[in-house]
């Protein structure tokens, strides 16, 4: 490894692997290291042995759970929006060719003690038990409006400038009740500031495949960093797992110039890495509590489907942050046959994080196994312009990859001085290309 590189990347989490892939494709000489002997860092999917090593100090899993190799358990629960930015990055880089995706079967919301499907089209709004008869009509109009809204076409705007007015004004125009606004904001916008773009993203993602706006890679989310790492390697990136990182080396001006592992120093002009490699350059901005649960049944009251997202809006349980439940199963090749995985997560607000996710855990029914962790959310103190060290943010509690993609783009901009531009390949382009060959 005693060579000169353009960029050394530390940690093989998704953010780092996407950047490593993009930069290698552009011809940068990349060295990518990870202290772990597996890919993915915090965004890995682990088998039982690795999971028990991490949470149970190496105790062995019950043989009842089945084969080790059947398990790919995500550490961070997130789904991909079918129409989202990560999908665009995947198609732009052609990493889709290494992966297989499956749809998440349902999106649910917890309201007034009951679990209901989140309606995401005017058809579903009409059937939804979440609203009364007249409210359904209003909601139907609202969904039609959002689905047909086109930024460049004022005729679709009905006199509302979504860029300028808050969503509350839009709800008001359609006369939506507070309860309806609530599930739209929390279960569809999935954000505190329920901006119209997020609602449109949700609705257009649902429109893509039906059922839910989410897709998920077979064998777990850990496949994503591996796919981008392969892209990077194909374009010349060098990979070293199980490689301790002992020192980040700086020159006299305080700019980074190398990374030391044991006696070896790899020279570089820039370093990208996750917060765990830079304890003195990061600050804590919060905590997330997550409970990884292994179940022998689908989550009750969700139509017995193989995978769901369930949101418990904060005001339903007197909190400031929503609680998310993400569930996948053996049909996603992440656990043994007849088992289900569910991860309950939220932002920590009190000194007793475990109690905070109890409303979520209570909805799961009996768990075969439960691994609870509280993780710090960290972010870099500086933007890297001075020392050329670019640190990613921790994976937050949001339920999809929107914020991860924002971080990727932000670091890309700071590292290269340019915006990341993605080619949106359409189906038609693909077909024409195939015809031409």
């Amino acid at each position: 490894m005693d060579e000169q590189y353009d960029i050394i990347v530390l940690g093989t989490g998704l953010t780092e692997c996407v950047l490593s892939g993009l930069l290698s494709v552009e011809g940068k000489k990349v060295l990518h290291m990870d202290r772990n002997d597996y890919y993915g860092g915090e965004s890995a999917s682990l088998n039982l042995t690795q999971l028990y090593r991490k949470f149970r100090s190496g105790a062995t899993a019950s043989s009842e759970l089945g084969k080790d190799r059947d398990y790919n358990i995500d550490l961070i629960p997130k789904f991909m929006m079918a129409n989202g930015e990560l999908v665009r990055i995947l198609t732009h880089t052609d990493v889709t060719r290494y992966l297989e995706f499956k749809q998440i079967s349902g999106s649910f919301v917890y309201r007034e003690g009951k679990i209901s499907k989140v309606p995401a089209s005017e058809m579903e709004a009409v059937r939804s038990p979440l609203m009364g008869l007249f409210e359904k009509r209003r909601a139907k109009k609202f969904f039609e409006y959002m689905q047909n809204w086109v930024a460049d076409d004022p005729s679709t705007h009905q006199g509302l400038d979504l860029e300028k007015i808050p969503m509350s004004a839009v709800y008001e125009k359609f006369g939506l009740e507070p309860g309806t606004q609530d599930f739209i904001g929390h279960a569809m916008a999935l954000y505190l500031d329920d901006s119209y773009e997020r609602i449109i993203l949700y609705i257009t993602s649902v429109a893509r495949y039906g059922k839910s706006p989410y897709i998920y890679p077979l064998y777990g989310l850990g496949e994503l960093p591996q796919g981008f790492a392969r892209l990077s390697a194909i374009y010349g990136g060098t990979y070293m797992l199980d490689k301790p990182v002992d020192e980040i080396v700086y020159d006299a001006d305080g700019k980074v110039c190398g990374v030391r592992s044991g006696d070896e120093v790899a020279k570089t002009k820039q370093v990208i890495g996750d917060p765990s490699y830079f304890s003195s350059k990061i600050r804590k901005v919060g905590k997330v509590v997550r409970a990884i649960c292994i179940l022998k049944h689908p989550i009750p009251n969700t139509d017995d489907v193989d995978s769901i997202q369930l949101v418990i809006p904060q005001n339903q349980v007197n909190r400031k942050h929503d609680i998310y439940i993400a569930s996948v199963s053996s049909s996603h090749n992440v656990c043994a046959k007849d088992y289900f995985l569910a991860i309950v997560s939220t932002i920590v607000e009190t000194d007793n994080p475990e109690a905070e996710i109890k409303p979520g855990l209570d909805l799961l029914g009996p768990c075969v196994e439960k691994f609870i962790s509280v993780t710090d959310l960290e972010e870099p103190i500086e933007d890297g312009s001075k020392d050329q060290v670019f640190i990613s943010r921790s994976y937050d509690a949001t339920s999809h990859f929107g914020t991860v993609c924002e971080d990727v783009k932000s670091i890309y901009r700071r590292v290269t001085g340019q915006e990341l531009t993605l080619k949106q390949r359409t189906r038609q382009d693909e077909e024409q290309k195939e015809m031409a060959e």
Partner: protein, 247 residues
């Protein structure tokens, strides 16, 4: 080369089919069955060279370590079936023991390569076979290929002795191991082409028929009426694949 080299594909009917080398795929009424084949083995044993010989029938002296090939495809025609190999190269990730598990997911075949002039490379090959048997699809067809036999073959009169002395892995020893571990066994020369086609033809013959009957999961993404549109598995349109060709 013609435009099909852009995709890294080339027609190459296997010998077993008894067909000429120039039959275009369009004339064929058997639908090709896609088979993912992964290459494994120590760095510099000739993994990429074997594939280049098989796919493009060429050899590059002093080939640089692998860069730029996502995977190459090559059809192999048998009497009763046509197999389209999707051949995955390690992209150098094996060099520092950093090959991702994703690499051998759903692989139906593997070629584990060693260098007949380096006994340590056979040990490494054995550890890859173990890893495959532990992690990969239980029905995977594995072939062991001892490459670089051109280095131990007499090239001219009088060189026989010195050449044979360069061999560190006796054929019998590797063959016995392959038998014991249930692997197909070949000795090959990517440089001269000896035995290369046989590796792929014999694998094609041995791929279990039931695997071919049931499409792989990625081809039947369930949960919707159609496979996920917009997330197509592109048919080999990867800029990186170009470097697999000499053109």
């Amino acid at each position: 080369m013609s435009n099909n080299s852009r995709q890294g594909t080339a027609e190459s009917p296997a010998r077993a089919g008894g067909e000429s080398n120039n039959v275009p795929s369009q004339n064929n009424n058997l639908k090709p069955v896609q088979v993912k084949l992964v290459l494994l083995g120590e760095a510099a044993v000739g993994k990429s060279s074997l594939v280049l010989r098989f796919v493009n029938n060429e050899f590059q002296e002093n080939k640089e370590p692998t860069i730029g090939a996502a995977f190459l495809t090559q059809k192999c025609r048998l009497e009763d079936k046509v197999i389209k190999f999707e051949i995955w190269d390690t992209a150098g990730q094996e060099r520092f023991h950093s090959l991702a598990p994703m690499y051998y997911r759903n692989a139906q075949a593997a070629v584990v390569v060693y260098d007949v002039t380096k006994s340590a490379s056979l040990d490494k090959a054995k550890s890859w076979v173990k890893e495959l048997q532990r992690q990969a699809n239980p029905n995977i067809v594995i072939a062991l290929a001892g490459n670089k036999i051109d280095l131990v073959q007499p090239t001219e009169e009088g060189e026989e002795e010195s050449a044979e002395s360069g061999r560190q892995v006796p054929t019998d020893e590797a063959k016995a191991y392959a038998m014991e571990a249930g692997l197909l066994f070949f000795e090959t020369s990517a440089k001269k082409g000896d035995g290369v086609r046989d590796v792929f033809t014999e694998i094609a013959k041995k791929i279990p028929l039931e695997l071919m009957m049931s499409p792989r999961p990625r081809q039947i993404v369930n949960g919707g009426p159609s496979p996920l549109p917009g997330l197509p598995r592109a048919n080999g349109q990867n800029p990186g694949q170009n470097s697999g060709c000499s053109c």
